[in-house]
């Protein structure tokens, strides 16, 4: 058997410098962030910036913006900044008011006016009502009006009295009298001033009796005719009083309205409205007068009737002359930029509120309330896509408004027919708004593929980067960005060493030594917390130690579960060997993501082999604990084994692979190299060094491919080894292509530097197996045979043996059957 030492293998462990890419402090020519100027431009988001600029610039329908990227990538800040910058140069949109529609009560009219004039118009109308009230009060209290009214009433009274007097006179002429009974009128014959008693009447000759009776009947008929005419007379009286009232009203309010007409001449909608108001005031002058001034006003019954009528109308009489200023833009300095953080259907589209009056829900135009679309109309609206989609009907409402380019206020209750009460259909308001939706990429692609309207309405895709190149220019800009954030948050100045540590940490956050994270939320959090820790030690400047303290504290707050795992490993509840050699057993590494915090723990992977039909059994998969990528990785191993060692004979083994003590699912192919090593060890019956852990996926040709979470994985195994005491043999095998991702913890680097821990970059399985077994892997000759004593030769011969045994076994079986 050909033995090799680790030094013999063509792979050298990584140098400490390769494990962490420091920033050269000399590239920073400042002492603290106080010396740096603010960074106005957005860094690292060239694509998104271009997209937003384009979206703002193009004024065609449907060119709304969808800013997509992970949370905390600064979407809202960027979009808001660009919107606000543009909005300053845009014209201030006009005010919008809702007023009563005198022709159709339930369809209030929308009127737009130059900024600030909405309120002016409202005040003018309030004043008009007051002035009309006083003008009418004066007019109706005038002697002239009273006199004219009295004449009309007198005429009616006289007509009524005259008719009755005529009848009374007629009765007198015929020796009859007219008397009131408790509920009517009777006629009776009179003798000597007294009504004739029945006995007296009976004594009269029958002709006289008949004569009297006839006269009475005649008078009864006449009286009936008079009484039947009374309602018509009363109607006539009311009509004439009404005509008089209208004449007086027209005269009294004409001048007042003329003033307003002159003032609002350039606005035809208002001129039409004033016309309607004049007509309405003339028809309803009594609403302006105190009850005692009204015709019939002293009659409590008529007051009650009027009150009930108003209740039915659902409004105090004067309300209908008010102006509901929906949008007042007088204090804007350009176009509005609105962020609606609670985009419910009603908060977006607006709503109609109701008032409870005597148990009924009533509404009118004055209860119309604006939504975010109203407020942002003529400007810019920013919405969180997820929030919009979470709110019932909000997405549909938003799309409908954008499609129709108008805001139409509807009640959801009415829409679904779940509420049946008085409602309004306010006149729609034209919509001209640029919308930016903020959301993650998944939402964007889901909407794009599932909602046919989406691509029509959100044509501009602003895709946000999560990281940027770590070059000198970017580093300088990043330092200025930190300085800007520090000033904006009023934090203590950061020393340049602290700044460089922050940038290095952001490289770790994106697991790439050649990149910097531009997820601003993470950076801002780090700055604030470091400022706190600096304050704790009474420092006026945030130093590198504060950054380290912040990072450590963040990890400590999150790593309860990691500690529990490690504790279980150290107490041997979870069995992980970190020294010695075992056949068919390798240390894999798995990453566990807990919210924003990720850590790794070693997992024991074991393999057993026996004669079989060439299948590698993934036990996780059999019990459905294996994800599809993991299963794929295991199947690749069969391909690799068959092609490499059993090209010309059947692969007659049955191997089983398992993640020991794994009670939840396994996903990802990063353990496939470890599984392969365990499998090769099992076949060759050669022990694998347990002081090493392995990560990396493998392809069918045996090449090791990059994996994620390499830093966490190395640190995960290091922590266990360190707790048990570093032996100097321990280390981790990583894919060589992951070297650029290394941004390891300082204690790991220190251990590597002192030779107590090793990190091997592996390109091919053969390199890995040599380090793990201490045996030469061996290169195949032209017949695909491996040199004797090499590991591959042992594997090959064991497989050949199995194939032969299998063939013999098959033959014996057939013979015995024959």
């Amino acid at each position: 058997m050909e033995k090799v030492t680790r030094q013999d293998v063509g792979v050298s462990p990584l140098h400490p410098d390769q494990l962490y890419t420091h920033i050269n402090l000399s590239s920073f020519d400042f002492e603290t962030t106080d010396e740096l100027s603010d960074l106005e431009e957005i860094i690292g988001q060239k694509r998104a910036v271009e997209a937003v600029r384009f979206g703002i610039g193009i004024e065609k329908a449907g060119y709304n913006i969808f800013a997509l990227g992970p949370n905390g990538s600064g979407k809202k800040a960027l979009v808001t900044q660009f919107f606000e910058k543009q909005a300053k140069n845009d014209p201030i949109p006009w005010d919008w008011c809702y007023v009563h529609n005198f022709e159709q009560d339930h369809r209030p009219k929308a009127i737009s006016l130059p900024p600030g004039m909405g309120n002016q118009f409202r005040m003018d109308m309030d004043q008009l009502v007051e002035e009309v009230r006083s003008a009418l009060s004066t007019a109706f209290e005038s002697d002239e009006y009273r006199a004219r009214r009295r004449v009309i009433e007198e005429e009616f009274q006289e007509r009524q009295e005259k008719s009755l007097e005529d009848i009374q006179q007629k009765a007198k002429e015929n020796s009859l009298t007219m008397m009131r009974t408790p509920s009517g009128v009777v006629f009776a014959p009179v003798r000597d001033g007294e009504v004739m008693a029945p006995e007296e009447f009976q004594k009269l000759p029958s002709e006289e009796q008949e004569e009297l009776q006839k006269k009475v009947e005649e008078l009864q008929q006449k009286l009936q005719i008079v009484l039947q005419s009374v309602p018509a007379w009363q109607r006539e009286l009311r009509e004439r009083v009404r005509e008089l009232n209208q004449e007086i009203t027209t005269f009294a309010v004409g001048g007042l309205l003329e003033e307003l007409r002159n003032k609002y001449e350039p606005y035809p909608a208002i001129i039409d409205y004033l016309q309607a108001i004049e007509k309405d005031i003339v028809e309803n002058a009594q609403d302006f007068l105190k009850t005692e001034d009204m015709p019939g006003g002293d009659n409590p019954e008529s007051q009650l009737a009027m009150f009930m009528a108003r209740m039915r109308q659902g409004q105090a009489p004067m309300r209908r002359y008010q102006v509901n200023v929906l949008i007042d833009n007088h204090d804007l300095e350009g176009a509005p930029v609105v962020f609606e953080d609670h985009p419910t259907f009603q908060n977006l589209i607006g709503r109609t509120e109701h008032l409870a009056q005597m148990g009924a829900l009533l509404t009118d135009f004055s209860l119309i309330k604006p939504g975010a679309l109203h407020r942002a109309n003529g400007g810019y609206l920013i919405l969180d896509a997820r929030e919009v989609l979470l709110q019932p009907y909000a997405w549909e409402g938003l799309k409908r408004s954008l499609n129709s380019r108008q805001i139409k206020i509807e009640s959801i209750g009415q829409m679904l027919s779940v509420i049946s009460t008085v409602s309004l259909e306010p006149e729609p308001i034209p919509l001209n708004v640029k919308i930016a939706l903020l959301g993650d990429r998944l939402l964007y692609y889901l909407l794009s593929s599932l909602d046919p309207d989406f691509d029509e309405l959100f044509k501009v895709q602003a895709d946000f980067e999560e990281d940027m190149q770590r070059n000198n220019d970017n580093l300088k800009d990043y330092a200025r960005l930190i300085a800007t954030l520090v000033r904006r948050e009023s934090l203590k100045p950061f020393h340049r060493s602290a700044v460089s540590r922050i940038i290095e940490h952001t490289s770790r956050l994106v697991s790439d030594s050649e990149k910097i994270s531009i997820r601003m939320r993470d950076v801002s959090d780090l700055l604030r917390e470091a400022d706190y820790w600096a304050g704790e030690r009474d420092s006026q400047i945030v130093e590198i130690e504060d950054i380290q303290k912040t990072i450590d504290a963040q990890i400590y707050r999150s790593d309860r579960l990691r500690q529990r795992y490690q504790e279980n490993i150290l107490r041997k509840t979870i069995l992980i060997d970190t020294e010695g050699g075992k056949v068919g057993q390798a240390n894999g590494l798995s990453v566990i993501q807990m919210g924003n915090f990720a850590f790794a723990i070693p997992s024991r992977i074991t393999s057993r082999v026996r004669m079989g039909k060439g299948d590698v059994v993934n036990i996780e998969r059999e019990v459905e604990l294996s994800g599809p990528i993991h299963s794929k990785g295991v199947l690749i191993l069969s391909g690799f084994l068959g092609a490499r060692y059993s090209k010309d004979k059947p692969l007659s083994l049955s191997a089983s692979l398992v993640f020991e003590q794994s009670y939840s699912g396994v996903e990802g192919d990063s353990a496939s190299s470890a599984e392969l090593y365990a499998l090769l060890s099992a076949i060759a019956e050669v022990p694998i060094s347990q002081s090493l852990a392995v990560t990396g996926s493998v392809n069918q040709h045996g090449f090791i491919q990059a994996i994620g979470g390499v830093n966490e994985k190395i640190e995960g195994f290091f922590d266990i080894c360190k707790s048990r005491g570093l032996t100097g043999d321990q280390g981790v095998l990583i894919p060589a292509s992951n070297i650029k991702n290394l941004m390891l913890r300082k204690d790991v680097i220190d251990a590597v530097e002192s030779g107590n821990f090793h990190i091997y970059p592996i390109e091919h399985v053969d390199q890995g197996i040599e380090i793990l077994t201490g045996m030469t892997a061996g290169e195949p000759d032209s017949d695909a045979n491996y040199p004797e004593g090499t590991l591959n030769e042992i594997v090959q011969s064991h497989l050949t043996e199995l194939a032969e045994k299998s063939a013999r076994f098959g033959k014996n079986e057939k013979e015995s059957k024959a």
């Binding site: 009274q157 009295e161 009755l164 009298t177 008397m179 009131r180 009974t181 408790p182 509920s183 009517g184 009128v185 009777v186 009776a188 014959p189 007294e194 009504v195 004739m196 008693a197 029945p198 009447f201 009796q209 009297l212 009776q213 009475v216 009947e217 009864q220 009286l223 009936q224 009484l227 039947q228």
Partner: protein, 279 residues
């Protein structure tokens, strides 16, 4: 005569009620006055014998005021209606009287209305009745007319109600009745209502005397009236005066040489305020 002695001159107030809105207003005024003067209130409801007779006639039909429809009536029917009205009036009176805590009686009599009212007025010091009854017109009703002429005691004829705080106009001609009229001002007006005394005199000298005469009485009562001198007075003048002054109550002496029965009746017809006819 001080106000307390005045009070003693009115022990009983008679109010005629026939359930018409005007008579109910009179009932309200009567209750207030009775409480103020600590007098007993006598309510009287007269079942009109003429109506009962009419109902007995074979062709007695009632024409409904509201609908104009014809309806056969008989004595039993009318009597029932009258009883119901009387009970309703009595209930109203009870409520009003109880709220003011006055002594009161209510009686229902049957007969000729003016006759019965005049008979009842014999035992009262003040009779109160509406200007019109059920007829509701603007002219003095037949009942009121008879009472105005024949009443044995002072009577208050109401247009509808009385505004005690409005100005009181009193006519003074120097006669005994005139002095009674002056005394009655205190009886009827509230303490702070303005008083206008119309001095009826043929010449200025006489007018001066009468004014002095009246003034001496008003000073005793701590009242400060205004005076106006007229040589003669007719009903149109009086009616205009009441209208122009916004008069609440007009106090007229009866049986005065200056004010004939006809003038009084015409004044009642033409004026729109309450009139107190002093006897």
């Amino acid at each position: 005569m001080s106000s307390s002695s005045l009070k003693r001159t009115v022990h009983r107030i008679l109010v005629a009620v026939d359930a018409s809105p005007q008579s109910l207003a009179a009932l309200q005024v009567a209750t207030d006055l009775a409480a103020r003067l600590e007098a007993e209130l006598i309510g009287i409801f007269v079942e009109d014998i003429n109506l009962v007779h009419t109902a007995g006639l074979p062709f007695a039909y009632q024409i409904n005021i509201a609908t104009g429809s014809l309806q056969r009536i008989n004595s039993a029917n009318i009597e029932r209606q009258l009883r119901a009205q009387a009970r309703w009036v009595q209930n109203n009176m009870a409520i009003l009287a109880d709220s003011t805590n006055i002594r009161w009686t209510f009686r229902v009599v049957r007969g000729n209305i003016p006759v019965q009212l005049l008979a009842a007025a014999m035992e009262a010091d003040l009779t109160i009745l509406g200007k019109t009854g059920w007829s509701g017109g603007r002219w003095l009703g037949s009942t009121a007319q008879k009472v105005v002429i024949q009443a044995p005691c002072t009577s208050l004829i109401l247009q509808r109600t009385v505004h005690f705080k409005l100005p009181v106009i009193v006519v003074y001609d120097g006669s005994e009745e005139g002095r009674k009229a002056l005394a009655s001002v205190n009886l009827i007006a509230s303490h702070d209502s303005p008083i206008l005394v119309i001095i009826l005199a043929e010449n200025a000298e006489k007018a001066g005397e009468l004014r002095q005469d009246a003034d001496s009485w008003f000073v005793k009562e701590e009242l400060n009236p205004q005076y106006r001198w007229l040589v003669k007075l007719d009903s149109a003048d009086l009616a205009n005066l009441t209208r122009n002054e916004g008069c609440g109550i007009l106090v007229l002496p009866t049986k005065s040489d200056c004010l004939s029965e006809k003038t009084i009746l015409n004044t009642l017809n033409q004026s729109e305020c309450a009139v107190l006819l002093v006897r």
